[in-house]
């Protein structure tokens, strides 16, 4: 027989009443105190719900529907009662974890480990698989949509002479045949910013007039296109998109239902993680692009020369690799030079 004193709220009136509670493990008997007229009440314990403990406050027992609830500070007695009827749920285990610093800090360590593992292994593998599953037609629709958006908002038609564009098209076609590649569509656009070239999610590479003017010779231009062809062939844009979605899910899970400030402060780690993936793709595109150049008989040299020129014109401070979408130009040059050595200095 377990007994304790509790506050009883009947669910109809806001008044609290002192009751003494007795239980033999099957029934719960309430005897109101100080009111001679109130008769004791009995409920089967199986129809009551002893809410799991939370923090260090009062324990809470819900009586059958329509009879309100009990609150008591005699937590030890409630625990004994729970042991008596064997109603320790998983939430009790949870409460035990929440009550101990060692376990809570252990949980923190596991979270950090899980996030690191998800970042390095889970998200890339799952996202890259998903990117390969996107049907060509859907990827093409996305690409066309993206290009038309860019055309209305950022780009203008190319100002290069038609014969120049035709020549580059022929060079590129020839290059793709030699490197054994399916040829993506090459599109020229005018953009007032620095020289640029990029791959769309599917089948198209865009190159700006400034880039065509920036390179010294055809081989350098093909080096740039080789890099972008690698992006295009490996579906890096789609992979990046899916990885971003993965990071979004990961951060949402970790930040939980936190307020908007926390979400705002979570954008920084999100950005860092995504940029990390960006650097992976750049390195991969450099290596693959270099292999295409070797196959086409041009060697890695033109890519090295191009990167050197980028470094001269748009110097990289070499410092915080962590914050940029691309690996530092210096690191890329070092790697490309290594590839050049492997290829016998060409």
């Amino acid at each position: 027989m377990k007994s304790f004193i509790a506050n009883w709220f009947d669910g109809r009136s806001a008044r609290s009443r002192r009751v003494s509670v007795e239980s033999d493990g099957k029934m719960l008997k309430l005897t109101p105190q100080g009111e001679a007229s109130s008769a004791p009440m009995e409920f089967p314990l199986s129809s009551c719900r002893i809410l799991p403990p939370l923090g260090s406050g009062e324990r809470h027992i819900r009586l059958p529907e329509g009879h309100g609830h009990l609150e008591t500070l005699q937590n030890a007695t409630v625990e004994e009662l729970e042991k008596l009827i064997g109603s320790t749920t998983g939430l009790h285990l949870l409460h035990r974890m929440e009550s101990r610093w060692k376990l809570a800090l252990g949980a923190l360590a596991v979270i950090v480990l899980l996030i690191a593992l998800a970042y390095r292994y889970l998200i890339p593998v799952v996202a890259d698989r998903a990117a390969l599953l996107v049907p060509d037609s859907a990827a093409q629709t996305i690409s066309e949509h993206a290009l038309s958006q860019l055309d209305t908002h950022i780009f203008k038609p190319s100002r290069l002479d038609e014969w120049r564009r035709d020549r580059i098209q022929r060079l590129y076609r020839d290059f793709c045949v030699k490197a054994g590649l399916e040829e993506p569509t090459l599109r020229f656009r005018y953009w007032p910013g620095p020289p640029n070239a990029f791959a769309l999610p599917y089948g198209t590479i865009v190159i700006t007039d400034a880039m065509v003017d920036f390179v010294d010779d055809d081989a350098e231009l093909l080096g740039v296109l080789a890099h972008e062809t690698a992006h295009q062939k490996e579906r890096h844009v789609l992979k990046q998109l899916f990885r971003q979605m993965g990071v979004f899910v990961l951060v949402s899970l970790a930040a939980g239902d936190a307020s908007s400030i926390v979400s705002a402060s979570a954008t920084l780690p999100t950005m860092l993680i995504e940029r990390g993936y960006g650097r992976d793709f750049e390195n991969e595109a450099d290596e693959l692009g270099a292999s295409y150049m070797v196959k086409a008989g041009l060697g890695v040299g033109p890519m090295v020369a191009f990167m050197q020129k980028i470094q001269d014109k748009y110097p990289d401070k070499g410092g915080s690799d962590l914050l940029s979408t691309h690996p530092s130009t210096i690191k890329r040059i070092v790697r490309l030079k290594e590839l050049k050595e492997i290829n016998g200095g060409r």
């Binding site: 923090g55 406050g57 329509g66 609830h69 929440e98 979270i111 996030i115 939980g256 239902d257 402060s265």
Partner: protein, 384 residues
């Protein structure tokens, strides 16, 4: 502030006993609850989020005491899980259709916007229904029609004008006439500023006047003029604070550049960050003014309230909270939440507290209102 009473002081004025709310939650305890439930949320790929939400919210309710009794949070995690799945599914579907077909995506997101007032109504109902004190549930008596009047009309008009403006800009990108632009932009901006206090007034009237505790319905008759005064005051103070900090920062940077050159320059990004942070936290100033006004003009049955949030104190708490959270990579989030809530709770007082004893539930049917709980799973943090 009258200091004559506290909640355990029975010797106070017998007619109108004033009782302050107290919050007994502790940062360390809440940190452990937070981190363990976060781990479970990650491991279960988000399913536990519903349980975590109930547990965290219940921690705040169960630690908020008024006159020796605590608040209760009655929501069931399973209902919240259904709500999460439903909302998540709809958002995912709209996102995917938007990627595949812009037109269908546009229609879907338009439908989603049209549903916002309904969602606000639903979540206000949810929040009230599953909050209780001394065994009596709160209720929200507003209806959907009012919700649409409040949350759809004014924002809808502005959205329509902005959309038309966007279409115009898109069509005449290069040739857009600067005079036409300023004729549209200037009055639109002014109208937005002039009407925002009115919109806030409508929202607060909808949420506060429709509150009920058991059978006692709220009486809340806000004064539109008073609302405008609050907003003008908050506007001037915020602008003044921003200008003051801006001048100090500019002087500091200039002095630094003059004296040492480089160090002053390095401080610029830091100062800019702090400046925007201040801009972001100044909303707490307005929050304090509006919260004080609303609660001090609210009556629920025999109960009235005295709420006295100090605006700058609240700005400081939010500002230092954000700095602490960012500096600790989020680890101080539970501490920050507890700290903010403890202060806010401590400035809420109830007048005529002994009358709570006489308050009753709405009706017998409401006691058994769990029946349609399955339909009430929309618990979004909106509307307050």
């Amino acid at each position: 502030m009258g200091k004559m009473d506290n909640f355990d002081a029975s010797w106070g004025s017998p007619s109108k006993r004033k009782v302050f709310a107290t919050f007994t939650g502790e940062a360390g305890e809440y940190f452990r609850i937070w981190i363990v439930n976060t781990l479970l949320t990650i491991v279960t790929l988000g399913i536990w989020l519903a349980w975590a939400k109930v547990r965290k919210r219940r921690y705040f309710y169960w630690n908020t005491y008024l006159d020796g009794h605590r608040f209760d949070y009655l929501a069931e995690p399973k209902a919240i899980l259904i709500g999460h799945l439903l909302v998540g599914g709809v958002l995912l579907a709209s996102n995917l259709t938007g990627k595949l077909s812009p037109i269908i995506g546009g229609i879907v997101s338009l439908a989603l916007y049209a549903a916002v007032p309904w969602l606000v109504y639903k979540s206000l109902r949810f929040k009230a229904r599953y909050s209780a004190f001394r065994g009596i549930r709160f209720r929200f008596l507003g209806d959907v029609r009012q919700a649409y009047k409040v949350y759809a009309v004014l924002p809808g008009i502005f959205a329509a004008i902005l959309t038309a403006f966007g279409i115009y800009l898109n069509a005449y990108r290069e040739e857009a006439n600067p005079i036409v632009l300023s004729i549209i932009v200037v009055p639109l901006t002014l109208a937005a500023f002039a009407l925002y206090p009115y919109w806030s007034f409508l929202r607060k009237r909808y949420t506060f006047s429709n509150m009920a505790f058991g059978g006692a319905e709220a009486v809340f008759t806000p004064d539109l003029k008073a609302f405008y005064k609050l907003y003008v005051k908050a506007g001037f103070v915020s602008l003044g604070a921003l200008a003051g900090v801006g001048v100090i920062a500019a002087v500091a940077v200039g002095l630094g550049a003059f004296l040492g050159g480089d160090p002053g320059f390095a401080a610029v990004p830091l100062l800019i960050t702090l400046y925007f942070l201040l801009l972001y936290t100044l909303d707490q100033y307005l929050y304090a003014l509006v919260t004080n006004y609303c609660w001090n003009n609210l009556e629920i049955g025999p109960i009235s309230f005295e709420v006295d949030l100090e605006p700058f104190r609240l700005v400081w708490i939010r500002f230092s909270n954000i700095v602490a959270m960012v500096a600790s990579l989020g680890m101080l989030t539970p501490w920050a939440q507890i700290r903010w809530f403890r202060y806010v709770a401590s400035r809420h007082a109830v007048l005529n507290a002994e009358a709570i004893d006489e308050m009753v539930a709405a009706s017998d049917t409401d006691v058994n209102a769990l029946g349609d709980a399955a339909a009430d799973f929309l618990d979004l943090d909106v509307g307050w």
